[in-house]
Symmetry: C2
Subunit: 283 residues, 2 copies
């Protein structure tokens, strides 16, 4: 057997073993996960910049605050109603067939609108539904939004709420992707994780999942992304590259806000998802 044939044979054996051991994990690896998370940073920064284009538009968020043209008093905020109804369409369109997407409001709408597709499942079924959407919802509206949007009311509540939905979906996808991170880490060191899961040792799991150096890189990178992606780009003027001394006010979203978002919410919440997922990984 020629050398390249032996190599092909070994590769084939490897592939078969992989398929037999865990039929769901083809394609999921540390590199895939890292690339996904890095690309999602851009999506998150884009969505924040787009939301910051609009004023706060407070009436969109007040509960029990208004009567519809149908004379009915609305008990939920406009933004909540908008997200609910939009998610129903997206559910009908099959968005939540993919495990990467988790709605904020569950509904039992059948996927009547979606062309069929056989999705692969990378996650362990007993842990796949772990998510922190309720926490994300609260943080987005109560903590993040006031840091993004300037005071003001231009009445464009539907456009604003569509922007909110884009931010919420991007944050939800990124943070709940902790399930995939945990799955990959679990597969890479099954023995150690199995012991800690068995003893329900949350603190030790959290410690094992944490890399402060890597987290620091991510936080500084998203801050730089806010600078580069949120600058005013002109043909002649110098382009901000993140090495600038100019004030935060020249950016569409303050880079410090994006740093804070990752430091205080995105990274800690992702790790909470990872730990929760692992605690259900052997159910």
């Amino acid at each position: 057997m020629a050398a390249h044939s032996v190599y092909s044979y070994l590769l084939l054996c490897n592939a078969i073993t992989l398929l037999l051991v865990s039929p769901c994990c083809v394609g999921l690896g540390l590199d895939t996960v890292r690339d996904f998370l890095t690309r999602e940073e851009d999506t998150i920064v884009f969505s924040l910049i787009e939301r910051a284009k609009h004023p706060l538009n407070l009436p969109a968020y007040e509960e029990h605050a208004w009567f519809g043209p149908d004379g009915r008093r609305h008990n939920d905020s406009f933004a909540e109603l908008f997200v609910r109804e939009s998610e129903q369409i997206q559910a009908k369109a099959g968005r939540y067939q993919s495990q990467e997407e988790i709605p904020f409001f569950h509904s039992r709408v059948p996927f009547t609108l979606a062309p069929p597709y056989n999705f692969t499942t990378d996650l362990y079924p007993g842990a796949a539904s772990v998510n922190v959407n309720d926490v994300i919802w609260g943080i987005y509206f109560n903590e993040l939004l006031p840091l993004l949007a300037k005071n003001g009311d231009d009445g464009n509540y539907a456009v604003t709420a569509a922007s909110d939905l884009a931010c919420l979906q991007a944050l939800s996808r990124r943070i709940n992707y902790g399930r995939y991170v945990a799955e990959v880490k679990f597969r890479g060191d099954q023995q150690r994780y199995t012991a800690l899961i068995g003893s329900k040792n949350k603190d030790a799991l959290m410690k094992l999942l944490t890399s402060e150096a890597q987290e620091d890189v991510v936080k500084r990178r998203v801050e730089k992304k806010a600078m580069v992606l949120g600058q005013d780009i002109t043909l002649d003027g110098p382009t901000e590259t993140g090495d600038t001394n100019s004030g935060q006010s020249s950016f569409k979203v303050a880079p410090s806000v994006v740093y804070k978002l990752y430091d205080q919410w995105v990274i800690p919440l992702t790790k909470n998802v990872e730990v929760d997922y692992l605690l259900h990984r052997l159910d």
Copy 2:
């Protein structure tokens, strides 16, 4: 009367005159219009980059191609169904109360979801509904999308179609904003425009509206925006500033595609909207 009082008095008289002459035009000026169009460039480039994240997902665009789980054959493409249903929710939420927004599919859904708001109207009522959404629809799906998305099918049709909707809405808002451009230009030179509108002289109107030097600036600026906003941003590596020699492949959307989009479609279509608007400006 002190000097500053005289100045205040003159300002007040000016404001009153403005209100009496055209009660709808407060806030609309050449600077506002230019700022709006420049800011929309970022929104368009963001939306294209986000669509390019996903593969082409052809089954989402094929007509007469699939049966729903309800056993019914779908005559429209999935993407069209998705846009129709999403626009209905947005109509209900009052998106189209603002003249800046024009749906691709008209429906008679009442604004039952929207908190009330009194929108100002900057456009001349007889010309306000001028738009080229049908043309934008065709160009987007037939010309632009194949240049953006790589071949492939990951089954995430709902996410993909939501991305398409974001692109379509951004392009529609930008191109149909030609109505505002035309309104401002008309107000700035009423005599000349009135004569050309009276003689329905389309060619002369088009010539009067055209500034090739300004169009060239816009095209080169959006090309640069595609470079800056579509680069891979790392902490250590050099940041692309648009002065780079690196190939188009390192950007998330080819800058040449964004140049072409503006050169062949956005700018010419905007001017068509301007001319059409003006032809109805004295109806």
